[in-house]
């Protein structure tokens, strides 16, 4: 039980509590803030895995951009966020069952069967992680990279077209 264990537990607790707020809170704005919290937890997990770059990018993109967008959406569609409104639909109980069973299956498999046998690669990190990532993005994964950029462009144009006042 080292410091790392403690840190991990704290971070994952933050993540899951945030997620819980997202799915359980009636007040959508609070749900969004819970999502931000959860994103921070995930960023912390990345940092713990010494992927500092991804941690920062996580904060930048998810907290800085996506959460803002979602909060914007909440604001612009206000009337559904009065506090009395029931936020659960009729099938919430089945959904709960499904989610729990899924977690049961995954948890069983991961905890008791295969997971730790997979950890074969040593801890040989590349000495220049960001450079390595950049290299990979423009050499081996050039095609997916380009496709992603095109996807972003298309999403941009599409969003503008959809949201524009007719």
């Amino acid at each position: 039980m080292s410091v790392e264990h403690g840190v991990f537990i704290v971070l994952s607790a933050i993540t899951l509590v945030g997620a819980w707020i997202v799915i359980a809170n009636r007040n959508l704005y609070r749900a969004a803030l819970g999502m931000v919290l959860s994103f921070f937890g995930v960023a912390g997990l990345y940092a713990l895995l010494n992927v500092g770059f991804l941690a920062v990018v996580q904060v930048l993109i998810y907290v800085g951009a996506i959460s803002i967008l979602i909060i914007f959406a909440i604001m612009l569609t206000r009337q559904v966020m009065d506090r009395e409104v029931v936020q659960r639909n009729s099938q919430w109980f089945i959904s709960l069952l499904v989610a729990l069973v899924l977690f049961g299956v995954l948890g069983y498999t991961l905890a008791f069967r295969v997971a730790d046998q997979w950890a074969v690669g040593g801890s040989g990190l590349p000495e220049k992680p960001i450079e390595a990532l950049g290299e990979a993005l423009v050499t081996t994964y050039a095609l997916p990279f380009e496709v992603a950029s095109v996807l972003l462009l298309v999403a941009l144009v599409g969003a503008i077209v959809i949201a524009r006042e007719k």
Binding site: Y29, V57, V63, S67
Partner: protein, 389 residues
């Protein structure tokens, strides 16, 4: 000089030795204690800076407006800030009806946190940095973007029309100006070949502001906007949306917003110093002294701008971001990348010259385009008037 230069470093070293040798604590504990103390110091530094900056702002501002400014409390009124603080503290703390209490109380704190977090990566001097992240520049941007959420929360939770309007303006402004800011920083990162602020500082004996005035200008403009200070103070435009998102706040919570603004101001100025004014990396004086001198110079420019410019109209603000700064920043980034590649192995001075020349060209072209556009719109207006006649 070296003594002075390494003053704080040596103190820190002595302290660490004290902990580990004299008290013989385990390393983990030492790092933890040092981290806590460092954080504390940085936070306190922020607060102290606020005191200094408020005083400085009042003074400079009044000078710009041909007044004397604070002069009652203490010699040259230097305790004015303390007086302000006390006034804030003893004010009544109001929470409006059916406001979202939790978030209403949370918002000011959320506001301060990112501001203080920025100090963690600022290199105050040689070997004087909270933590030298290898993604420092990105970290600055990421943390900077957190402010938006805090502001949104404040505006929303106080359940006030003006509050919400202010929040919307904040989002629009911050999100819009983040982009040119990042692009300007990107050009610096490109030149330095690293995102670590320390490496960036070490890599610029010549300040980038001289090599890349365009980037510097863009960064300063975007920085002012991010700070939400005039001329970009539409967020709290008293005359339009009475104080915007913190309209309902009073007392200590208001003080926190106040605090956050000035901490941010110093942090942004510090980043500007680090990225464009070659940070502490100048000879003779102690490095940390250089840092503070330059930073205060930048702060002075901020105050100066506030004192001299009227507020933008919101559509002008957005157009300025999207139709002027973003394209300019993009062009600038491309040109810088191109020059950097072309003159990669042509020696430092050649690169510097190439960058400078290319930037000047950019400036010239930009001015030409702007002038042309202005003339066109003016002619259009005139013709419209003539048609109306």
């Amino acid at each position: 000089m070296n003594i002075l230069d390494d003053l704080f470093v040596n103190i820190g070293q002595w302290w660490t030795n004290l902990l580990s040798d004299a008290l013989s604590l385990p390393d983990g504990a030492v790092t933890m204690i040092n981290g806590l103390i460092g954080g504390l110091i940085l936070a306190l530094l922020g607060v102290v800076m606020v005191l200094i900056l408020t005083y400085m702002e009042r003074k400079v501002f009044s000078r710009l407006q041909d007044r004397i400014g604070p002069n009652r409390w203490g010699p040259w009124g230097i305790f004015q800030a303390v007086a302000d603080a006390i006034k804030m503290l003893i004010k009544e703390d109001i929470v409006p009806d059916n406001a979202d209490r939790l978030l209403f109380n949370l918002a000011p704190v959320l506001m301060v946190i990112p501001a203080v977090l920025l100090y963690a990566v600022l290199p105050f001097g040689r070997r004087m940095v909270g933590s030298d992240l290898n993604v420092g520049a990105l970290y600055v941007v990421a943390i900077g973007s957190l402010t938006a959420i805090a502001v949104m929360t404040a505006g929303w939770s106080s359940n006030n029309k003006y509050g919400l309007l202010g929040a919307f303006r904040v989002i629009a402004q911050l999100v819009s100006y983040e982009i040119p800011m990042v692009l300007a920083m990107a050009s610096v990162v490109l030149i330095a070949g690293s995102m670590s602020l320390v490496k960036i500082v070490e890599s610029q004996p010549i300040p980038n502001a001289i090599l890349m005035p365009v980037s510097f200008f863009i960064y300063m403009a975007a920085g002012m906007a991010e700070l939400g200070r005039s001329p970009f103070d539409l967020l709290e435009a008293d005359s339009e949306i009475v104080a915007g998102y913190f309209i309902e706040y009073s007392g200590m919570k208001f003080a926190l917003f106040f605090l956050a603004e000035y901490i941010n101001m110093f942090a942004i100025a510090g980043v500007a110093t680090t990225l464009f004014l070659s940070g502490w990396n100048w000879p003779i004086l102690p490095t940390w002294l250089w840092f503070f001198i330059k930073t205060f110079a930048v702060v002075f420019v901020f105050i100066w701008a506030r004192g001299s410019w009227p507020r933008f109209r919101i559509d002008h603000m957005l157009n300025f971001a999207w139709k002027f700064l973003v394209p300019l920043a993009l062009v600038n980034l491309m040109v810088v990348a191109l020059v950097d590649k072309l003159l990669a192995d042509a020696g430092m001075w050649a690169r510097a010259g190439g960058l400078l020349v290319s930037n000047l060209v950019i400036i010239a072209v930009t001015l030409g385009v702007v002038a042309w556009a202005a003339r066109r719109s003016r002619n259009a207006k005139l013709q419209a008037i003539a048609g109306a006649r």
